[in-house]
Amino acid sequence: MLCFMTGAPGFLTNHELDQFLGGGDSGQRQRQRLLAAHLLPSAVTLGKVRRFNVALLPRFVLAGLARDLARIPHATETMQDVAARTLRSEAFGQVSAAVRESVRSFDHWSFDELVDGVVERAADAVHEWDEDVDAAEQELTERLGISFLGETGVVREADADVCVIALDSGGEEHVPSTRVVTAGVCGRAVLLQRVKVLSKEVGYVMPVENFGTEPGERDLAAWFASMSQPIATPGVVTADETYVSDSESVPYGRAYSRRGHWHGSSTMTRVPAVR
């Protein structure tokens, strides 16, 4: 039996936030507006790595994507304070170095590959900083009433507009593709991060961190997941058309109907005497 230790990525980059805000230039402008309104805390900028500008933020900044955050007293200051503290840790320093290293090998932006690369380079630091982020989210929950809940599941279906996630806890979640920052491959293990600010809850889909897995193990798990896909079911039970038909129809019929005289001679229904 293979075992997996999985976790939710503790960090996001400006690229994921832009995607969550609609993607492209529009998403970028939206992020700048939120930053100006102090709904997003200041990011740690890594500068240009290859052709990518990279800035890092802790996962809980997702709460700032909800405009309702501004309605919570002292929310923006609290968020800034908690984020700054989280980003000062030694573990985060190692994580950010691993991010820079990982991005250096990129031809295209991929959060899946980034998460894998960071875990591969700095698993212990990732683990430690994830715990810092979890603690920070707990603090935000206690101080601001914001809730964070990560649920694991697999991609059940994905198209250009919607990604359907089958949750391990049961049930399905339909998430708009703009809120998905992992490749929409059926069977892929993902994390649905739910963030609730006041009465509004929004879910974001991201890859899971895999610790201690051998190469290929995650593919194996994904294969099992794909084997678990529901199958299309016809409305009726249909005959297997591979049965050889014996209809051997002839292009003519009887001139008049004939009634046989063999009735009353069944052998298959007869049960001989007790033996």
Binding site: A221, S228, D246, Y252, V271, R275
Partner: protein, 304 residues
């Protein structure tokens, strides 16, 4: 349509004993068959405490108290369980498969120890899966006899337009048939059971009333110069079928009665001198009738 219709109800409630033509509905009644990828399988039920973890790993919901089967050719096959990878007709998970018993009632009685002594339940019994077809297809099967497909008359206890698929026969361990005798939903009435029997004869052996009925029709066509048979030529060909009907009757009725009488004498002390005379009288009468029918058929054939 069926010749026996109009002579009683097509179906009957299942009797205490399981019989030829009984229709079962149970989740395990799958028409399994082998292909070249069939392999013996090892494995077994993964205990419930492990099943939930395994289910989570393969993204399948497994109830906490439910064991799940884990089988693979990669695990050592077990001589006792005799599991093998096989195939079956695809069906919706919500549809419990139905199948009709094709083993004859004598074999069924022996296998299931119904009215038998000093035996244990054993062996395998033959079933044909039931499928559903379109209304048009079902109607065409009632009009144009296909030896391999037997359209069943409508009944509220069966899906609409049900067909018994002789070509998909499979066998079930008699122990499980015995254990699931309560899974029977219907039995065939006498007339319908006979129809099923001759259909099975035709499919399995290419003999019996359906087979010679079709071949005499072909003879009538040939005698008519090909194509649609003329009435006179059909009458000549039908005379052959009438002769064979009586032979079929003698074999299935008179000689089976002889078999029953012999058992009566050998097992229960019946007196052969009492049992034999009425039987031979009936056989003699029918043989003389048969000879007359055969002579008449020959005359008509020569004249056509």
């Amino acid at each position: 349509m069926y010749e026996g219709f109009g002579e009683g109800e097509p179906y009957a409630p299942p009797q205490h004993d399981v019989l030829f033509g009984d229709i079962f509905k149970a989740s395990f009644m799958l028409d399994v068959f082998v292909r070249e990828d069939t392999k013996p399988l090892g494995g077994g039920d993964l205990p419930a405490n492990l099943a939930s973890k395994f289910g989570k790993w393969i993204s399948q919901r497994v109830d906490g108290d439910e064991a799940i089967g884990v089988y693979s050719p990669a695990l050592t096959p077990n001589r006792e369980t005799r599991f093998a990878l096989a195939h079956t007709t695809f069906r919706a998970a919500s549809d419990s498969p139905c199948a009709i018993l094709l083993s004859d009632s004598c074999l069924v009685a022996t296998s299931l120890v119904q009215g038998r002594q000093r035996r244990s339940v054993g062996g395998r019994l033959l079933f044909a899966p039931l499928s559903t077809v379109s209304a048009e297809k079902w109607l065409s099967l009632t009009q144009q006899q296909d030896f391999g497909r037997f359209p069943l008359p409508a009944d509220r206890r069966l899906p609409e337009h049900t067909v018994a698929e002789m070509g998909g026969c499979f066998m079930v361990d008699a122990r499980d048939v015995k254990n699931h005798a309560d899974s029977r939903v219907l039995s065939l009435g006498e007339a319908l059971a006979e129809e099923l029997e001759v259909r099975w004869d035709a499919y399995a052996t290419r003999r019996g009333p359906l087979a010679y009925g079709r071949n005499t029709l072909k003879l009538a066509s040939l005698l008519s110069g090909g194509g649609q048979p003329a009435a006179q030529q059909q009458a000549a060909a039908d005379a052959i079928a009438d002769t064979l009907d009586l032979a079929f009757f003698i074999e299935g009725s008179d000689l089976e009665a002889v078999s029953a009488a012999e058992e009566q004498a050998r097992i229960f002390g019946g007196k052969p001198e009492v049992l034999a005379p009425p039987l031979t009288a009936a056989i003699v009468t029918h043989l003389r009738d048969l000879a007359a029918l055969a002579a008449a058929a020959a005359d008509r054939l020569e004249a056509s």
